[in-house]
């Protein structure tokens, strides 16, 4: 044996160690890859040796090369080897590495090692490759480590818990109390780790951690660790939206923090202030510059957050932000762009976009330029073109953007053009004129074909010119432009649109020549079509070919007719008759389902399950063509749709049995008087058109100014008149102040398809008077205080691994519960309606304290005024008392910790102390509050009753069948039973209802028989055996407290009598 060791050691002496390896790699600059691969071979040899030092060295080298796939854990006693092993593992293990499964025991051994650094290294390694399985198996070991004597281990254990929570969420509840404890750990490192973990958790679900706010508050005021402070402040940022009261409390300590001289933050901040003022004087001081830049960036970041809540205050910094666009740092420019999006208003849109256009010209690098382009379009088109007052300006901006070379966003511009032209009727004539010039100058756009996506614009241009050809001044010229031979170099889908729209234009030309005695123009046009179309017939693109050959034959036929002097214009234009209207994407929803049609019913019987499942769908679905996701196809669809709609209309018109709807519902809103009555300015069209080819958007800024001034003048006149007539002082306010947003009337109106109203608009339309729909309440109700973990895992370590089986069952149940919820909620929640306020309450026991009941009340403001100073008071009974803060008298009310703006609802919780839980109870209470209007405020009072049912003292507790059986065998329980007649519902609904309303959980279910279990907050066991046989349900129940059982059964009976 000794000999073998020596042999290994001597061998090893000739091997390379890590340093040699590195040196070697550095010496083989030319053929690094080859050298590394030979080294790897060597390492593999070394790994096969028995000597542990050799192995460790090999692993170490491998970590360097980082190409190993899996390695058996080198389990050994030496710390240095363990350390290398874990380092290597953390670098190369990931969730799908198979060996991880084999490591559990090794890790467990290391975790419980007496050496703190062994444990520490294991924890560090584990944090990198923890899997759900590992998390489940090791959660308990890590939990124990959280209270290790060494702070070094404690802090690592606390930190790794986050990873464990992520992989094994069930562990959160049992571990939470201990995690909370660690917030107050004497060691600052452990404290900061705990804060870290909770901050990460709170990011996912802040509501859960509201209860910790006071603790964090204390930490914030006492801690000196900057890292902890930063984290806590971040956490509060997430919490304050949920708890307005918190915000107020925070203001003071935060400002204190800023002002406190010993806090490190203030030093750099004040320095920065000085530096910024200095840096303007000393241009090339780079150190200070870097600091400035960081602050600038962070400032912009902060502003974007402020913007969401206080847009006004940011808007005043508009110039500053526009300046940031000139910054040479791309990060800063992008941030500034983001800000601009939220800052635009009707007033400054044109100005901002003008600035952006300047930047587009200057910008280097296509990515940034593309970003600019998309931002311009985003800014303009946001919330249904809300801020655009002059669409002619917008169209010319779009046209200007087409001059950008090498942009990827051709289709974006194209879709905007189409959108605007279709939805803004008043703009069509102008748009058509612009598009015609674009088509005429198509060679500018396609100069370098294939290179750029900008030729997509031609797609839109051709379509607009064709569809709205009646607005064209010189359709013949446009037609000629569309049929140039060069068009054949464009992408296929654009050519197709060209051909189709050439036909439309052809129809227009024919119609315009109709009354003309001299038919030469018409015939020339036909000849032009016949001459040029064959080029497209030869196209390689199927779509183009098909359309071209179809239209070619049509034109040939028309030519024949023309030669016979037959008037064909009417028929030809009938091909393309019919107007295109915008349709909301969700319009389909509005079509009612015809009577007698059940969409959920099977058309064919579903295939029996015994058939192999993977074959069937294949046969069905392989034939389906892949869907085209590119936007241009949807455009085609739209047109296709229009044509089909037209065909349908025709069909309907010819069908005597079809009752024609007078004006279609779609048209109604479009033809609202608004469009015609809007003062469209007479813009001298010749001006933009004089510039050969391309219009200038700048002029519109000027024109817009003029227009507004005119309007203002008009308004003033009107107002003066009014004042003269009325002689009342009220009108004064209007003209004295600066022009407000609403005063700017848009020059054009967008057709806003009602369905597509922007979110804000829709919220305004929500009826706030009706009681909260059940589905809306749910999320609030479902949350439970974290301090009351339901899972039994807390009780003992042994249980935590086991509870898989019953949980699955209950999740099945949950689905069914949801279905019932909507119908049944009212039974459970007592609603108090009142003209101002709606209160909904939910009563829940507190498992940790057997005498406490938490009542969560949702207050909903239903009126249009502000509700404040709400005070909640309950008349205590002998048995139940409202918990009041110390020092308050027994009849004092509790202030509700928030105010309610109109339409808002919020939840408050009140804790009651209950002595005996065996009887249900009713408590009377009052809520006083102040209703504040603009001009008055009144004091109001609302009486209510709180009904504490026995059910509300029960807590859903899972139970396993063997434990359940033992409980029943013990003989301590007293029985009782009840029969329910005429219950007409499926058995699983019935169970779900009992589970949901009475907090039971199903222990076992066999056919139409189920056993259920629940536990009261004072630890009474309640067991049910539910059986059903033709509409009769019998419930045999056992409980260690007969009166509680009687009451619970009564309540169950009542639940079912109500349905």
């Amino acid at each position: 044996m000794a000999l073998k060791i020596v042999k290994g050691s001597i061998d090893r002496m000739f091997d390379k160690n890590l340093q040699d390896l590195v040196r070697g790699i550095r010496n083989h600059k030319e053929d690094e890859a080859k050298y590394i691969s030979t080294c790897i071979d060597e390492i593999k040899q070394e790994l096969k040796q028995d000597n542990i030092a050799v192995k460790a060295n090999a692993v170490c080298k491998l970590t360097y090369v980082r190409s190993l796939s899996t390695l058996p854990f080198s389990c050994n006693t030496l710390f240095c080897c363990t350390r290398i092993g874990y380092l290597a593992a953390s670098q190369c293990f990931h969730e799908s590495t198979d060996v991880i499964m084999l490591t559990t025991n090794q890790i467990r051994k290391d975790l419980s090692s007496p050496n703190q650094y062994d444990t520490g290294v294991a924890l560090t390694g584990l944090s990198c490759f923890v899997t759900p399985d590992l998390a489940r198996d090791l959660a308990n070991d890590i939990m124990t480590l959280m209270s290790h004597t060494k702070p070094y281990i404690r802090k690592k254990a606390v930190l790794i818990m986050y990873k464990v929570f992520l992989k094994y969420p069930e562990s959160l509840r049992p571990a939470f109390p201990r995690l909370k404890e660690k917030l107050e750990d004497p060691d600052p490192g452990v404290q900061s780790a705990a804060v870290n973990v909770i901050c990460e958790l709170a990011r996912r679900n802040p509501k859960n951690y509201l209860s910790l706010a006071p603790l964090f508050f204390k930490l914030m005021t006492s801690s000196t660790n900057n890292w902890v402070l930063i984290k806590i402040i971040k956490l509060f940022g997430a919490l304050t939206p949920l708890e307005p009261r918190l915000g107020k409390k925070l203001i003071e300590p935060l400002t204190n923090l800023i002002h406190s001289s010993d806090s490190e933050l203030i030093v750099p901040l004040s320095c920065i202030a000085v530096l910024i003022s200095l840096s303007s004087g000393m241009p090339n001081h780079s150190a200070s510059h870097v600091v400035c830049v960081i602050v600038k960036y962070l400032g912009l970041l902060a502003m974007s957050k402020i913007l969401k809540t206080h847009p006004k205050s940011v808007q005043s910094h508009k110039d500053l932000i526009l300046q940031c666009l000139d910054d040479k740092d791309e990060s800063i420019r992008l941030r500034a762009l983001d800000l601009l999006y939220g800052m635009v208003s009707k007033k400054n849109l044109m100005e901002i976009v003008k600035k952006l256009m300047l930047h587009v010209d200057k910008a280097e690098g296509t990515t940034y330029r593309d970003e600019l382009l998309t931002k311009i379009i985003d800014i303009c088109s946001q919330s249904n073109y809300q801020y655009i007052t002059n669409f002619e300006w917008y169209i010319s901006i779009l046209v200007e953007l087409t001059r950008l070379e090498g942009t990827r966003h051709g289709h974006l511009i194209a879709s905007q053009m189409l959108d605007v032209a279709i939805r803004v009727k008043a703009i069509r004539a102008f748009a058509v004129a612009q598009m015609a010039t674009l088509l005429d100058n198509a060679h500018l756009l396609t100069g370098n074909t294939q290179r750029n996506g900008i030729c997509e614009v031609l797609y839109a241009a051709a379509w607009i010119c064709g569809e709205f050809s009646e607005h064209l001044e010189n359709p013949l010229q446009t037609l000629e432009a569309m049929l140039r031979p060069k068009v054949a170099t464009l992408p296929g889908h654009i050519q197709a649109v060209y051909v189709q729209n050439a036909a439309k234009l052809f129809a227009t030309v024919l119609r315009s020549q109709e009354g003309n005695t001299d038919s030469t123009t018409a015939q020339e046009t036909s000849q032009l079509m016949i001459d040029r179309l064959p080029l497209f017939v030869q196209s390689a693109n199927l779509e183009v070919q098909e359309r071209a050959s179809c239209i070619l034959q049509l034109v040939k036929y028309i030519q024949k007719l023309q030669q016979k002097d037959v008037e064909v214009a009417e028929e030809v234009s009938a091909l393309f008759a019919g107007e295109l209207n915008p349709v909301a994407p969700k319009a389909q929803k509005k079509v009612p389902v015809p009577e007698g049609l059940d969409l959920d019913a099977w058309i064919n019987e579903p295939p029996s399950e015994s058939e192999s499942e993977d074959e069937k769908p294949k046969a069905i679905f392989t034939k389906e063509e892949p869907k085209h996701s590119r936007p241009r196809h949807t455009e085609v669809d739209e047109k296709e749709l229009a044509r089909r709609r037209e065909a349908r209309k025709q069909e309907q018109a010819n069908n005597p049995f079809y009752i024609k709807a007078s004006p279609s519902s779609q048209k109604v809103y479009q033809e609202t008087p608004g469009v015609e009555h809007i003062p469209v300015v007479q813009i001298d069209l010749s001006v933009p058109l004089k510039v050969p080819g391309l219009p200038m958007s700048d002029q519109y800024v000027k024109l817009e100014e003029e227009r507004r001034q005119k309007e203002r003048a008009e308004k003033k006149k009107k107002e003066k008149k009014k004042r003269k007539e009325k002689r009342s002082g009220r009108g004064k306010k209007h003209d004295s102040g600066p022009e407000s947003e609403e005063d700017i009337t848009p020059a054009h109106m967008v057709d806003i398809v009602t369905e597509e109203m922007p979110e804000v608009g829709r919220i305004l339309h929500v009826c706030v008077c009706r009681p909260l729909a059940d589905s809306e309440k749910l999320p609030v109700r479902s949350h439970r205080p974290t301090e009351a973990p339901k899972s039994p895992a807390e009780d003992g370590d042994t249980e935590s691994a086991a509870p898989q089986e019953p949980k699955k069952k209950s999740s099945k149940e949950k689905k069914e519960k949801k279905k019932d919820k909507d119908k049944d909620r009212k039974v459970r929640l007592k609603e108090k309606h009142f003209q101002h306020l709606n209160m909904v309450c939910d009563i829940q026991g507190n498992l940790q304290d057997g005498s406490q009941v938490v009542v969560s009340v949702i207050f909903e403001n239903k009126c249009n005024s502000f509700l404040k100073s709400m005070e909640f008071n309950v008349l205590d009974s002998l048995n139940s008392k409202l918990q009041r803060p110390e020092g308050a008298g027994p009849h004092d009310g509790l202030t509700v910790p928030f105010q309610l703006p109109p339409g808002v609802s919020n939840e408050a919780r009140f804790v009651f102390t209950v002595q005996s839980i065996v009887m249900p109870q009713k408590l009377k209470g009052t809520l006083t509050f102040i209703v504040k209007n603009e001009d008055s405020s009144t004091h109001e009072k609302l009486d209510f009753k709180l009904h504490f049912t026995c059910t509300s003292y029960l807590i859903t507790t899972p139970c396993y069948s063997d434990a359940f059986a033992k409980l029943l065998e013990s003989g301590d329980l007293k029985g009782s039973s009840v029969r329910l007649e005429g219950v007409n519902m499926p058995f699983h609904h019935l169970l779900a209802r009992i589970c949901f309303h009475h907090h039971f959980s199903v222990v076992e279910r066999i056919d139409s028989c189920a056993s259920m279990y629940s536990r009261s907050i004072q630890g009474h066991h309640v067991c049910l055996l539910v059986k059903t046989a033709d509409q009769t349900v019998s419930i045999d129940a056992k409980c260690d407290e007969p009166s509680l059982l009687g009451n619970v059964l009564d309540e169950i009976k009542q639940t079912f009598s109500q349905c």
Binding site: A2, L3, V6, S9, I10, R12, M13, N17, L18, Q19, V22, N51, A53, N57, C60, T63, R66, L78, F79, C80, I84, L87, Q91, N115, Y117, T124, S127, Y152, K155, K156, L159, I160, K163, P188, G189, S192, A193, N196, V197, E200, R203, N225, N226, W227, I230, K231, K234, S286, H289, V290, V293, I294, Y297, L298, K328, D329, E330, S331, I332, L334
Partner: protein
């Protein structure tokens, strides 16, 4: 959460790579290349934050970096981390390296890759910040190194071999001969 920590030099040669989320080997290489490309073309006097980098995360993620002499220290973090906090953390990390290696330079990172990893493990654990106090970090690292030394460490293996050879004939000689310590300090002695 910190998604990744990358250290590379001015030429884009990676010096320390630590991913806290699994990426396939080739994707890692691609990320490093892209990150280097993004970071290296930025001036020294622009801000230390970069958004984008399409490979890790997306819009929620930021690159926060610092440039020291020949090395770039890049941290990829999500929005739960404070930008200034991470900048400070990089500084702490570099200062710790400086203390542990006494005037750290790129070569230290190359030849003592494992040590750098150990130091990093004391600062960041599984993507979460473990410790920000430099003295604490240095103390822990040194304690562990001392422990390794007391075990003889890897570099002491040849020394053991030597003693093993000697022990073949002289089994009575006590095992804990002090040669180990000498060899540790001068690792280049090993080929005898």
């Amino acid at each position: 959460m910190i998604k990744a920590i990358l250290i590379f030099n001015n030429h884009g040669k990676p010096r320390l790579i630590r991913f806290y989320q699994y990426f396939a080997e080739d994707l890692q290489q691609q990320i490093i290349r892209e990150t280097f490309h993004l970071v290296s073309k930025r001036d020294d006097n622009v801000c230390n934050f970069l958004e984008g980098g399409s490979l890790i995360g997306g819009s929620d993620y930021k690159l926060i970096y610092r440039h020291y002499a020949t090395l770039y220290f890049v941290f990829c973090v999500d929005s739960s981390e404070s930008e200034l906090g991470i900048l400070d953390l990089i500084q702490v990390f570099v200062e710790t390296l400086d203390k542990c290696f006494e005037n750290v330079c790129e070569l230290d990172l190359i030849f003592h890759m494992d040590k750098v990893h150990y130091i990093l493990q004391e600062v960041v654990m599984g993507g979460m910040v473990l410790e920000t106090n430099m003295n604490e970090i240095v103390a822990q690292v040194e304690l562990q190194n001392r422990m390794e030394k007391s075990e003889g460490g890897l570099s002491a293996a040849p020394a053991r071999a030597v003693s093993a050879v000697k022990n073949m004939n002289l089994p009575e000689i006590p095992r804990n001969i002090n040669i180990g310590d000498i060899n540790i300090k001068v690792p280049s002695l090993s080929p005898f």
